[in-house]
C-alpha cells in the first residue's frame, strides 16, 4: 500500500450543493449518484425480499395455501431479477461511485453526465419489470434464466417487458463499467500506480471489463428470445431448425461471468476491511490482484457447468468439470490470504469486521458446495435441486450482500459524518447471521434429499426442512429492517465521526473529512 501525505482542506467552506429535487435529477456528482444507487439498491433489496417472504410463506408447509403456482413462479423469477439487477449490482455500482474517485485521488468519475444517465434509467427499467406483474397473464414466470421455449412460445406478453427492462439494465451496467474503466485508467493521482491501488479499485476494474464483455451477450440472447416470440425467427425452436440448448449456451456465456461480476467487488471490500481491523497490511497484495484476474479469465471457460444435464457429450462435460474445479484454486488463494492477514494481527471486532469475517467463513461454505457441484456425475443429483439454491444463496447473500453491509458500516461515517449506532448495528449483524444460516443451511439437505427447485409445493418428507428455512427467512427479512433503521438514524445524526474513525484503515478516502466534502481532490493529492 502507498503511504499518503495528509491533505489540508480548503474547500469545506465552499462546499455548496444544489437543493431540491433538481439536485438529484440532474446531479453529476459521484457522491450524490453513489448515494442514489445505494438507496435504490436498498429499496430493491426490500422489494425482492418481500417476494422472498411470499415464497417462504407458501413453502412453510406442504400444500398450496397462499398463492397459485403460476404466481409463485412469477415470484421466484422476479425475486431473482430484482436481487441480481436491482439490489446487488446497483449496490456495488453505488460503492464504486462513492469510493473509487476518492481512493485514487480523482475529483469525480471520468464521465459524470453519463453517470447520471446510468443511474436514472434503472428506476425506469424496474418500473417496467415490476409493472409487468400487474399485466393480465402476470409477470415473467420462467425463472430469471428465461430458458426457451418456455419464455418464448409458452409464455405471456410479459416476456416483452422482461426483455425491454433487461436491455435497459444492461445499458446502465455497461455505461457504468465504461465509466469505471476510464476513471481508473485516466484519472489516478500522480504516484497512484496500478500496483498501489486499493484492492477495491482493482476488483472493480476487472469487474468492469467482465461487464463490457458479457452484458452485450445477454442483450443478444434476450433479443433472440424477443424475435423468436414475435418476429418469426427460430433461434431456439426445433421446428424451424433451431435449438433450445443454444439459448442456454449463449445465456450462460453471460451468466457465469455475471456471478463473478457479483462477487469480485466483494473481494475488494473484504480486502480493505480485514487489514483495517487487524491493523496489518493485506497479505500477498500482488497475488490477490493476479488471483482476481485469473478468476475473471477462467470465468469465461466454465459456462456449461450450468448445463451438465442437457445432453452434452462426455468430452465437453469433462472440459467444463476440470475448468470449474480449477477456479477453486485462485479463489482459495484469496481466502488463505485473508486468513494470513488476520494471523498475528491485532484485531477488534467492530461491525464491519464482523460482517467481513462472516463473509470469509460463509462464502467459503458456498464455495464448498460449488466445488461439489463441479463434480459432473454428482451434479446430476444436485442440479435443479435446493442444493443449488443453497449454494448460490450462500455466495450471494452471506457473500455479496454481507460484503455490501460490511462496506456500508465501514464507510457510513465517511458518507454521513456520523458514527452509526453500534448496538443496533451489532444486533443487525447477529440476528442476520443466525437467521441467514437457519434459512439457507437446511436447503443443502432438502436438495440432497431430493427436493427440486422452483416448485410451490413439495412431498411431505421435505416439510420439516422447509419450515425451518421459512422461519429463518422471516427472521432474516425482519432483521433487515434494523439495518434500515441504522442507516436512516446515521444519516440523520449520531456521534461525530473523525476523518479516520478506524484506527487501522488505509487509503486516500480517510484523508478527507467526515462527511466527505461535496468535491474532494479537486487538486490531486501527492501519493508516495
Amino acid at each position: 500500500m502507498s503511504t499518503v501525505v495528509e491533505e489540508t482542506h480548503h474547500d469545506t467552506h465552499h462546499d455548496h450543493k444544489p437543493s431540491g429535487i433538481g439536485r438529484w435529477l440532474f446531479t453529476t456528482n459521484h457522491k450524490d449518484i453513489g448515494s442514489m444507487y445505494l438507496w435504490f439498491s436498498f429499496t430493491m433489496f426490500l422489494v425482492g425480499g418481500a417476494m422472498a417472504m411470499i415464497i417462504r410463506a407458501e413453502l412453510f408447509q406442504p400444500g398450496l395455501q397462499l398463492v397459485e403456482p403460476q404466481f409463485f413462479n412469477q415470484m421466484t423469477t422476479v425475486h431473482g431479477l430484482v436481487m441480481i439487477f436491482g439490489a446487488v449490482m446497483p449496490a456495488f455500482t453505488g460503492l464504486a461511485n462513492w469510493m473509487i474517485p476518492m481512493m485514487i485521488g480523482a475529483p469525480d468519475m471520468a464521465l459524470p453526465r453519463m453517470n447520471n444517465w446510468s443511474f436514472w434509467i434503472l428506476p425506469f427499467a424496474f418500473m417496467i419489470l415490476l409493472g409487468s406483474l400487474f399485466m393480465e397473464g402476470g409477470g415473467p414466470a420462467f425463472g430469471w434464466t428465461a430458458y426457451a421455449p418456455l419464455s418464448t412460445t409458452y409464455s405471456s406478453d410479459s416476456t416483452a417487458l422482461f426483455v425491454f427492462s433487461v436491455h435497459i439494465m444492461g445499458i446502465s451496467s455497461i455505461m457504468g463499467a465504461i465509466n469505471v474503466i476510464v476513471t481508473i485508467m485516466n484519472m489516478r493521482a500522480p504516484g497512484m500506480n496500478y500496483m498501489k491501488m486499493p484492492l477495491f479499485v482493482w476488483t472493480w476494474f476487472i469487474t468492469a471489463f467482465l461487464l463490457i464483455a458479457v452484458m452485450p451477450v445477454l442483450a443478444g440472447a434476450v433479443t433472440m428470445l424477443l424475435t423468436d416470440k414475435y418476429f418469426g425467427t427460430s433461434f431456439f425452436d426445433a421446428a424451424g431448425g433451431g435449438d433450445p440448448v443454444m439459448y442456454q449456451h449463449i445465456f450462460w456465456f453471460f451468466g457465469h461471468p455475471e456471478v463473478y461480476i457479483m462477487i469480485l467487488p466483494s473481494f475488494g471490500i473484504i480486502s480493505a476491511i480485514i487489514p483495517a481491523f487487524a491493523r496489518k497490511r493485506l497479505f500477498g497484495y500482488s497475488s490477490m490482484v493476479y488471483a482476481t484476474a485469473a478468476i475473471a479469465l477462467l470465468s469465461f471457460l466454465v459456462w456449461a457447468h450450468h448445463m451438465f444435464t442437457t445432453g452434452m457429450p462426455v468430452f465437453a462435460e469433462l472440459f467444463f468439470m476440470y475448468c470449474t474445479m480449477l477456479i477453486a484454486v485462485p479463489t482459495g488463494v484469496k481466502i488463505f490470504n485473508w486468513v494470513a492477514t488476520m494471523w498475528r494481527g491485532s484485531m477488534t471486532f467492530e461491525t464491519p469486521m464482523l460482517f467481513a469475517l462472516a463473509f470469509v467463513i460463509l462464502f467459503t461454505i458456498g464455495g464448498f458446495s460449488g466445488l461439489m457441484l463441479a463434480i459432473t456425475p454428482a451434479d446430476f443429483q444436485y442440479h435443479d435441486t435446493y442444493f443449488v439454491v443453497a449454494h448460490f444463496h450462500y455466495v450471494l447473500v452471506t457473500g455479496a450482500i454481507f460484503s455490501i453491509m460490511a462496506a456500508a458500516y465501514y464507510w457510513l461515517p465517511k458518507w454521513t459524518g456520523h458514527m452509526y449506532d453500534s448496538t443496533l448495528a451489532k444486533t443487525h449483524f447477529w440476528t442476520s447471521l443466525i437467521s441467514v444460516n437457519v434459512l439457507f443451511f437446511p436447503m443443502h439437505f432438502a436438495g440432497l434429499a431430493g427436493m427440486p427447485r422452483r416448485i410451490p409445493d413439495y412431498a411431505t418428507q421435505f416439510a420439516d426442512i422447509n419450515q425451518i428455512a421459512s422461519i429463518g427467512g422471516f427472521a432474516f427479512g425482519l432483521s433487515q429492517l434494523i439495518f434500515l433503521w441504522v442507516a436512516i438514524k446515521c444519516v440523520k445524526g449520531g456521534e461525530k465521526a473523525a476523518a479516520k474513525p478506524w484506527e487501522g484503515a488505509e487509503g486516500l478516502e480517510w484523508t478527507v473529512p467526515s462527511p466527505a466534502p461535496y468535491h474532494t481532490f479537486e487538486k490531486p493529492p501527492k501519493v508516495e
Binding site: 475529483p107 469525480d108 465504461i178 452484458m215 443478444g220 431448425g241 435449438d243
Partner: protein, 189 residues
Amino acid sequence: MSEQRPDNSILVKRLLLTVAGMFAFGFALVPLYDVFCEVTGFNGRTSNEAAVYQQVEVDESRTVTVQFLTRNAKGIPWKFEPSIKQVKIHPGEVKVVNFLAGNPTSSNMIAQAIPSVAPAEASLYLNKVECFCFNQQPLAAGAETEMPMQFYLDPDIPDHITTFTLSYTLYDMTANTSAEAIAQLLKTE
C-alpha cells in the same frame, strides 16, 4: 471542477467498440454453434442436405442396428410412424425405410419432421440420400401417405457404435403457411 481534463475520448471509443463487438459476438455465436454442431455432431442433428451416394465398399463384417422413433409435437393430430421399428444395416449399404403419415382432419395441413440422433456421435456417420425431413410435407384432408427415407452409413463409423436411434419429431406448420400454398404443393405432388 478538476484542473485538467484528461482526454477520455479514445478510451471511451475503444470501449464502446468492444461493447458493439461483444453484441455482434453474441449473434455470431449462432452460426458458430451450428458449425460446431455440424462438425462434431454434438447435438445429434443430421444434415439438411441430401447426401450423394458414392459407390463405397460395403462392410459386410459388421452390422449396425438403426432404430426409428417418431413423436408428434404438441397438438398435431397426424398419424406418423415408421413402417419398421429398426433395421440392421452394413456400413456402406443403402437402405430405404418408409414412414407412414396420415392427416385425419378435414382440412389440408403441412408439417415439418425434425430429426435427432442418439448417441449424438452417430449423426456424423448417417448420410441421408432422400428424406421427408428435408422439406415440409403437405397432406390433404383425410389423406395418408408413405414417405421414404433413403440412407447409408459411412463405412468408417466407429466400431463402438453398434446401435443408434434416429428420432423424428413432427411439427405442425399449417399456421405459418397459406391454404393456397398448401393446395399448390399438393397439386405438384
